[in-house]
Assembly symmetry: C2
Homo-oligomer: 280 residues x 2
DNA sequence: GAGTGGTCTAGACCACTGG
DNA sequence: CAGTGGTCTAGACCACTCC
């Protein structure tokens, strides 16, 4: 074990939310709510739109950690919705760890935690930037080939179907920390080789170029030993401990769309979960 | 690696829910509400009580996987609550993976999955039994001693304070799979050595003997390499991959009450998470 | 005591699944 | 088409915090 311990905390989780902002509501009754800006995601529930609007305000810095939000009754009036609806939006953000609510006291923007919740989905790049690191990426392999059986099964393909197989090395402050190995069905992403994944987010490309949005994923974690090739590329000793994260992602139509086997350096990452009773 | 692969799937998570059933909430309206058993947690929100009631029915087999529940409007009438309140209970169970709801179709008891959600808290014993395995436990070490600094800090103790340091080996079908190493403050648990942790659940003892309930926990996962001692006791080769799960648990008063460092055999466990957009 | 979030009710309309 | 879950509203009372 040679390696320094630059940072130790991290959450897995990947990409995936679109920051639709809401147009402030034409009020009540007949249920209005302008549809938001771009895309045809017009029909999102109001509480989701409000949550996204508030998220924008937090991310843009309009709302800073420690700030108290206006009372619910006031906020609901501002957004032109019922208090219940507003509370649903707040709950969503609270479950993501972005807001803290204290009965009798108020609703506050959370202090940024060192660790993010493992269950919240966010991009590697954004995650690292929030922690003040400079993320990077490097394509190690990019091939169009026929899928191996286990992967084909997971993606619902036959073994004669073509897939893109991509190895991407992720860097933090120039140092390799994560080897992404992912497979996507070629027929869903024609000409995928045109896009530069060393500069762009995979999910961003999927969404903007192909209209594919990842809505959910199932993933698992296992500890594994670094093989020679993996050790070399991640700059650890063979036999070092790595975290293998398998992932099957689904698109908006519930179709499996990406199969990933990511290898994290065990000395640089820790996967954090908060276990709490589910209060909805 | 000599070991067989008896089973591969598992979720971490530990114990913690008490199956309190609801006290007949004195129906504010025309309500009914079946009651069940013990304790005076009378003041739980109605939706929590309903969720626990339904959970009981699922666990007892009154509701079987695949069964369709009555429509929400009917259920809410049965429980004597508003539909919104009932829906909150259903949502809670849905988030735990116990129910599946399909718009237009109905609410169904989920087929038992091989893996449980990583975020849901459940006891090792119960978890294994659900999978048809025979869990066991063996006390490896049981000492009252002064806390080491890092642990004392986590538990909010001074280094002169005494703690119980307990190593417990967990078995599945007689084979060792998990080495639990946990620390609890001695002053909160007087005479703790009287209890037989090879037969009883730690959390069950805490609750019934000391009135301490674990309400939430913060935990992390890291891959590590088996040291000689660990390898021997877990029946793996030195250098094998293990999963280290650190855990800090809090009681009902938000006091840190247990510090754990559990070692899972990497070849026998996989830690699963579902990543999905939070719809509340 | 005033003000906050937490819970609950009653009723409505919508979107989707199914025969 | 009838019936299901999904969303939203209007209004109420409670539990807690803080001055």
């Amino acid at each position: 074990m040679i390696d320094i311990q630059l940072f130790k905390w991290y959450s897995f989780a990947r990409l995936v939310y679109t920051n639709l902002a809401i147009e402030p509501p034409t009020p009540p009754r007949g249920g209005t709510m302008k549809k938001s800006s771009n895309r045809d995601e017009t029909s999102k529930p109001v509480y989701v739109q409000i949550a996204e609007n508030l998220l924008d305000q937090i991310e843009s810095g309009d709302l800073s950690p420690g700030d108290r939000l206006p009372p619910e009754r006031e906020l609901s009036e501002k957004f032109g919705v019922n208090r219940q609806t507003l509370r649903r939006a707040l709950k969503k953000l609270e479950l993501q760890g972005l807001l803290t609510r204290r009965q009798g006291a108020g609703t506050f923007v959370s202090e940024p935690k060192i660790e993010q919740r493992a269950e919240v989905v966010i991009s590697f790049t954004k995650n690292m930037q929030r922690r003040g690191y400079v993320p990077g990426a490097e394509i190690v392999k990019f091939k169009k080939q026929s899928a191996e059986k286990s992967v084909a099964d997971a993606l619902g393909l036959s073994s004669s179907d073509l897939v893109y197989s991509i190895f991407r090395l992720r860097l933090i402050n120039q140092a390799p920390v994560l080897l992404e190995r992912l497979t996507i069905p070629a027929h869903r992403f024609p000409q995928f080789e045109r896009h530069d994944l060393s500069k762009r987010s995979l999910y961003e490309v999927m969404e903007t170029e192909y209209g594919v949005t990842i809505t959910r994923a199932r993933q698992s974690l296992e500890p594994v030993i670094a093989l020679d090739y993996e050790a070399e590329i991640l700059h650890v000793l063979p036999g070092a401990a790595l975290m293998l994260q398998r992932r099957l992602s689904f698109d908006q139509n519930e179709q499996p769309i990406e199969y990933g086997k990511d290898l994290y350096r065990g000395d640089r990452f820790r996967f954090v979960t908060e276990i709490a009773p589910l209060e909805i």
